[in-house]
Amino acid sequence: MILLDEVYKSFNANHVLTGTSLVVKKGESRVVIGGSGSGKSVILKHIVGIMKPDKGRVTVDDMDIARLKEHDLYEIRKKFGMLFQMAALFDSMSVWENVGFVLSRRGMLKPAKIKEIAVEKLKLVGLVNVENLMPSELSGGMKKRVGLARAIAHEPEILLYDEPTTGLDPITADAINDLIVSLKERLKVTSVAITHDMQSSYKIADSISMLYQGKIIATGTPDEIRNTSDPVMRQFITGSAVGPIKVEGVNNERTVNRA
């Protein structure tokens, strides 16, 4: 179980999380939606403990992530797999070494076997014949999928996806959604996914939470969210610039600077 209890986090004067609370039960697939810059990635980073809350508590299986001893923190991280928004591939390693990184660090398998597993995981995310390339030779969407393959390679119990389908074409995106669903069903993973893609979130989520102004303002099943009457939620899921959420610096009248 993942729990955020009244978490506060600021960067200098930028108050990003202001009392965020979130509970994700074991085996549940949660999607967090919210505007750009609202702090979704920051939430994920708190869950794996690469950021610490200024105030409040983050626990995973009843262990307080911010107060764990270093050794215990690394132990609990073995349960995690995380896909970073920008993939964060190790650029000094080839694609298959990236995917097999954890396996080779654990030192129990031979390199040939690790490569075989890596190739298989890459196939799961729809990538073939890329295992010997370097990350710098990949497109943005390919990097994302290699990042996903790396996150799932050691079959973790908890998966954190930061925008798994952003930057992918609609067909590949749907295949990734299917993969996420099948990981949940086959491996019973607990997951938190961030996405801007409502189609994708309806498909992969058991429940959806919306982050707005530093707090989770609503949580519900995909159906509940789809039929919500809350004006903020409605505006977000229908993707309209008109409504209670104001987009700074963007007004609805066209501004043209050309004479």
Binding site: K45, K78, A88, F90, S92, F101, V102
Partner: protein
């Protein structure tokens, strides 16, 4: 008058702030050093990573070290020979070259070269890994980044600096020999005799102790600068220059104190 006092006060204040900043940074570097030492002693020991860094820090620096050492030895011999000739002491050239190379120039020049080459590379590489979230990714994969990234660089620095420094000592002495014996046509027997008679083994190993210290300092300082980079590509640039400046300064300043302790 009050204006002047005000400006004076401000200047002092900013100096104090700089002082506090330096103290803080020194403290954080020490904390990183402690964390590194702790991780160094805990298994598993990433021998492969250490060898890779030894190659990076050490072997790749050999050409630059050779060129620097040979010309330093040569110019030292040239200046000493022509200078000492004034009071008829030109037979001492071998001694002067050997002593200055082993006690001073070998370790310090190697240190400066390595901080410019390997130190900059360390800061740039770790800095890039930081700003592209690769270090965060390591943590989420349950790999301790201090152990995985900094320990091998630290060990490589400790081992390779003395090794390069020995190399510089020998080549410097050969450079001195070339100028004194071959160019100035003096006796090769005298040169070697002068080299060996007055050179003590303490000169050599105290020089190597300094080199070892410089190696550790370069690795920790440069890793620190890279590891705590923020602010994108610009931040990486700053970390890289910062690493070279701070490790060179540390080498030159600590060299005095180490020398007065080891040789004083």
């Amino acid at each position: 008058m009050t204006r002047l006092i005000e400006r004076f006060g401000r200047a002092i204040l900013s100096l104090l702030q700089k002082g506090v900043f330096v103290a803080e940074e020194t403290g954080r570097i020490f904390l990183l050093l402690l964390a590194t030492l702790r991780q160094l002693l805990l298994p598993p020991f990433g021998i492969v990573d250490i060898f890779r860094q030894m190659l990076e820090v050490g072997v790749r620096s050999v050409p630059v070290v050779i060129v620097t050492a040979i010309f330093t030895g040569m110019v030292f011999a040239l200046q000493t020979y022509t200078g000492f000739k004034r009071f008829g002491a030109e037979t001492l050239v071998g001694t002067v070259v050997a002593m200055s190379m082993t006690r001073e120039l070998g370790p310090v020049l190697t240190g400066l070269i390595v901080s410019g080459r390997a130190g900059a590379a360390m800061a740039a590489e770790l800095g890039t890994m930081r700003v592209t979230e690769q270090i965060d990714a390591l943590e989420t994969l349950a790999i301790n980044p201090v152990k995985y990234l900094i320990v091998p660089r630290f060990v490589a620095g400790l081992i390779m600096l003395p090794a390069l420094s020995v190399c510089a000592d020998i080549i410097g002495i050969i450079g001195g020999y070339f100028v004194t014996v071959v160019l100035f046509n003096t006796s090769s027997v005298v040169y070697w005799k002068q080299t060996w008679t007055y050179l003590e083994s303490a000169d050599i190993y105290n020089g190597l102790i300094k080199a070892c210290f410089f190696g550790g300092a370069i690795s920790i300082i440069s890793s620190y600068k890279g590891f705590y980079t923020s602010g994108g590509a610009e931040g990486v640039g700053k970390a890289t220059t910062g690493a070279v400046v701070l490790s060179s300064m540390t080498i030159l300043i600590s060299d005095y104190f180490l020398s007065s302790w080891l040789f004083g």
